[in-house]
């Protein structure tokens, strides 16, 4: 932009120069347009009504991203909500495969119950990036928040600042770790591992800028909500059919 302004100023002052500067101006304009077209803005849709709580996503994420096996370190997880007739909300973590229904109390008078997948919301205004003292966590141009594990000093401030509990301190590298939307996969045109294995398309991945992406279709057809909108983090993980009790 600055360069173009400069060129304009030059040509304004010396009209004869236009012949010389015009080709450059056109080139610069082209550059800017193609750059804007090529860069995607990644986002994910979560169709809560489709999640069957199978836990495939959690398992695939751990396998794909070398996430420690303990359930205290999760890049993505699934929560089970049970709301009983007293309007009391019982939430539990789907802790592993084949154990999904062991926790539900048959006696409880269930009003409604459902699963909610969670992951890093890849906020447009990420509080974690704001607080990192050494810029080790940052937002890429395509909208994904990454951690530079050779820069991170493991202070844990970003973990405290995340309203969604999406970050943890990796016990091996001693640095902050989190969901990257499987950045190594999506940049090759593959889907994130969790989206790849989801059997019901409860997770929809795509480019928020592209009119042809499945995410754009989802945004057109469904009512969209995000988690904790009052914190103004502007998440790029968009939920459909989200219950108000989910935090």
């Amino acid at each position: 932009m600055l360069r173009r302004k400069l060129l304009k100023m030059l040509t304004g002052a010396l009209p004869g120069l236009t012949i010389l500067t015009d080709p450059f101006a056109r080139l610069l304009a082209q550059d800017e347009e193609t750059a804007a077209q090529e860069l995607p803005l990644y986002g994910m849709g979560i169709q809560v009504d489709r999640c069957i709580g199978c836990g495939n996503c959690m398992e695939a994420c751990k396998a794909e991203n070398n996430v420690p096996p303990e359930p205290t370190h999760m890049r993505t997880w699934v929560e089970r909500y049970v709301i009983d007739s007293n309007n009391e909300v019982h939430v539990s973590l789907l802790n592993s495969r084949n154990r999904t229904s062991s926790q539900i109390d048959e006696q409880r008078n269930v009003l409604r119950t459902f699963f909610v997948p969670k992951l890093c919301n890849q906020c447009e205004n990420p509080p974690c990036v704001q607080v990192c003292p050494v810029e080790a966590t940052f937002k890429t141009e395509d909208g994904v928040v990454l951690v530079d594990n050779e820069r991170c000093m493991g202070c844990g401030y970003c973990i405290q600042a995340c309203p969604y509990g999406a970050r943890y301190l990796h016990p091996e590298t001693k640095t902050a770790d989190k969901c990257t939307f499987c950045y190594h996969r999506i940049s090759q045109g593959l889907l994130p591992a969790c989206v790849n294995v989801c059997p019901t398309q409860a997770r929809v991945f795509g480019n928020l800028k592209s009119p042809a992406s499945p995410l754009t279709r989802l945004r057109r057809l469904k009512k969209i909500n995000v988690l904790k909108p009052s914190l103004n983090t502007a998440p790029k993980v968009l939920y459909t059919d989200l219950d108000g009790e989910v935090r």
Partner: protein
């Protein structure tokens, strides 16, 4: 997930009540991060007490002036240590100076700290002790005399003009120092107060509450040190000075108490989404450390004792006893303030639906033992400082002889 992980998860889940996000089950910021704001608070508080002498001309406090300065220095040298020890990669901490992210409250720590240590404390102490160091350099024997000589930057100026300049310089530095001390600890409060994700921390009052609790703890510490050190040096405790320190302590506790009460009432009255989990937190997890130690033992009891003394004119011995006990209780209370903020803020889930447990290590890098060592280390440093820079200074006769 293998079977070990499953059984581990069940063990962990037993330590939580309600629902806690998986990544929040382990409490990340340990007792080390409790020690850090506690130490920083003592620095700021001790300095504020010292500045009362220089700026506000409270002459009765003169006997504690140098002690306060050295105390501040001893504690600020150790203050960043728990922070660095707690890092996953302490060896990368230089990055905070090299490539600070200016939007981060924590990145400013290095600069605020360096400013306070180098520009405020060291300079003020240097000007304050310059005359004495020149004299000591002349009087002591070889190795020591050279240390004084180097520390005084080979200064040899004992002219009245030079000494007057020293006085003006200390005064000027104190004027800069007061806002700096406010900045140092207010900023530590901001580190917590600006975390919007955490309703227990997120409060505009946080920096101010931190500041006043710092002043309280700093004054109480100097009071304790003065009462312990004076008899050790065979000096009589200056009761005028002691009464005055205790009076300031009393006012500071009142302000601190009011601020914390305001914060508490405000939260309760606004009664936002988080109020249920915060009440649960106080009742189930922080009852001992918040209600009993911080509020009752750390505030109400000392306040009552100090107020009682002002109403019923007690004799010197009783006053000393009560001041000492109150100051100890206040230290305990302020340590609990830091504990309740740091640990308390991590014991509830950001889902506002559950509580987790903090299990303190005993040994190890995050353990109680190291925390105690770090709390004791400033006292060792202070002892060394007092040995080489006695607050009594050089005898006055030397000055008359040399000028």
């Amino acid at each position: 997930m293998n079977l070990d992980a499953i059984s581990a998860s069940e063990n962990i889940l037993r330590e939580t009540t309600g629902f806690v996000f998986p990544n929040e089950i382990d409490v990340l910021w340990s007792i080390m991060i409790v020690v850090y704001p506690y130490l920083t608070g003592l620095v700021a508080g001790a300095f504020i007490l010292a500045s009362l002498v220089k700026i506000f001309k409270v002459r009765e406090l003169q006997p504690t002036y140098r002690l306060s300065l050295l105390t501040a220095l001893a504690f600020i040298l150790i203050a960043p240590l728990p922070l660095v020890l707690h890092l996953g990669h302490p060896e990368r901490s230089y990055e905070i100076f090299l490539t600070p992210q200016l939007g981060s409250a924590m990145a400013m720590f290095g600069f605020v700290y360096a400013w306070y240590l180098m520009v405020v404390l060291l300079l003020e102490i240097w000007f304050e002790y310059r005359r004495d160091m020149v004299i000591w350099a002349r009087e002591t024997k070889f190795p020591l005399s050279w240390i004084y000589r180097i520390l005084s930057l080979f200064s040899n100026d004992l002219s009245q003009e030079g000494l007057n300049f020293d006085k003006r310089a200390t005064r000027l530095i104190t004027i800069i120092g007061i806002p700096s001390a406010f900045l140092l600890h207010g900023y530590v409060g901001f580190i917590f107060g600006s975390v919007k994700a955490n309703p227990w921390w997120s409060s505009v009052l946080m920096p101010i509450v931190f500041l006043f609790s710092a002043i309280v703890s700093g004054i109480a510490l100097v009071l304790i040190l003065y009462m312990v050190l004076a008899p050790m040096r065979g000096e009589e405790i200056n009761m005028k000075c002691l009464d005055r320190v205790a009076a300031f302590l009393f006012y500071a506790v009142i302000v601190d108490f009011s601020l914390e009460a305001l914060d508490f009432i405000h939260r309760l009255y606004e009664s936002e989404e988080s109020i249920h989990i915060l009440s649960e937190l106080i009742v189930n997890k922080l009852f001992l450390s918040l209600v009993v130690i911080q509020i009752l033992l750390g505030m109400i009891v000392p306040l009552a004792m100090l107020a009682g003394i002002r109403i019923f004119r007690a004799n010197a011995e009783l006053r000393k006893l009560i001041y000492f006990v109150s100051a100890i209780l206040i230290q305990l209370g302020i340590f609990s303030v830091r504990w309740n903020v740091v640990i308390g803020g991590q014991m509830f889930s950001k889902s506002f639906r559950g509580l987790t447990t903090y299990k303190m290590e005993m040994l190890g890098l995050e353990g109680l033992l190291l925390a105690l060592v770090l709390l004791a280390l400033p006292l060792v440093i202070l002892a060394v400082l007092l040995r080489f820079f006695p607050p009594t200074g050089s005898p006055a006769k030397d000055l008359s002889a040399s000028t």
